[in-house]
Symmetry: C5
Subunit: 100 residues, 5 copies
Amino acid sequence: MQIAKVIGTVVGNQKEPSLRGSKFLLVRFVDENGEDISNGYEVAIDAVGAGVSEWVLVSRGSAARQIEGSEKRPSDAAIVAIIDTVSVENRLIYSKKDHY
Amino acid sequence: MQIAKVIGTVVGNQKEPSLRGSKFLLVRFVDENGEDISNGYEVAIDAVGAGVSEWVLVSRGSAARQIEGSEKRPSDAAIVAIIDTVSVENRLIYSKKDHY
Amino acid sequence: MQIAKVIGTVVGNQKEPSLRGSKFLLVRFVDENGEDISNGYEVAIDAVGAGVSEWVLVSRGSAARQIEGSEKRPSDAAIVAIIDTVSVENRLIYSKKDHY
Amino acid sequence: MQIAKVIGTVVGNQKEPSLRGSKFLLVRFVDENGEDISNGYEVAIDAVGAGVSEWVLVSRGSAARQIEGSEKRPSDAAIVAIIDTVSVENRLIYSKKDHY
Amino acid sequence: MQIAKVIGTVVGNQKEPSLRGSKFLLVRFVDENGEDISNGYEVAIDAVGAGVSEWVLVSRGSAARQIEGSEKRPSDAAIVAIIDTVSVENRLIYSKKDHY
């Protein structure tokens, strides 16, 4: 999975029928220190109710369909968790509580 | 999924039988501000009737086969939605109505 | 799918039994103007009888197995169409007839 | 598979139900000499009890679900082995014993 | 598939049970002229008995599991053929016989 920041939303009404009801969030991939990764954005289906500026875990490929209701959807990216903390060698690098 | 602009079409008559009847659109990947991404093009099967210069959502990998009629097709990219709006931190970055 | 030029062949006799009888073509990925893409080559199974210097469409990943006889083959890339034309904003960029 | 160093952990309580009980480790990809690879990090499910600073093998894509209990999980990366040695042309490049 | 040179081996005893008995080879990706590709290495399961310095074909993703005994293994890369020759526009670029 990759760490990403939710930065916005994408809306499209004319779409594959099986995608109706899906919420598309625009996320920017960051490294473990929160630095942007070049060209690193994705449009992912939100499976956990994430909000703008939250750090999330994004799964891509067929893993994105292993979500209840998404098994037959043509989606290749999904937000599968909202991140509470990121630690590197036992140092807390990111904590959701400090950001909200 | 990735955001892309439809820029053209690709035609090939000598092809895998299961691809007959598929429409191949040439798309260029852009970031959320509409800037081209280097080397970022794809030939995708059109599942939603997209037209040249429209912004679309492209799914890749096995997700591209989760489209009615495409389950057994050797296609690894599909246009799954036509984008109406892209918003970043509640600012409208792109709106189809402004472009057409 | 990606646009590629067929540039050669790869032969290997000691291989996975299920690959016997497959023809491996060496292709170089190009952008829509026919310019090489850096590091952009692939060895793909030929499913449509493509020849050296022809422009072709290459599918990768599990899509490459959606070809009759390839369902159980350990191949991750296949040539699925020979390109006749590539058009960008209704301008003809490439036409097979002009090249042969 | 890729060689990676375990550098930390990621915790997220609000997640896809099927991911409950999974341990997310933060790994940095390295080449065979242990040099970091740019942008090369991943958040992977730990299947073998790896610890911080250990060298591990990471599988990505649908392979990451071929682990007991993960078949239906939306995870696209898993740690599948702890590396004991890496040899290049019969020279020992890395040995776990020398590091611990 | 990609062309690669076998450069070494990786050993890890603490691993996913289904990987027991698999031989992990370290390969470096090369272009058709044998030039290294930056960051281009992989750890692949050997399915054809390849040896150090041989040129091989590597399949990645779910294709790597289409090998007898690997269907349920969490491996995302496999060596599926040992290359005898590589030809570009009918010129022999590489021949195993010339190297051994």
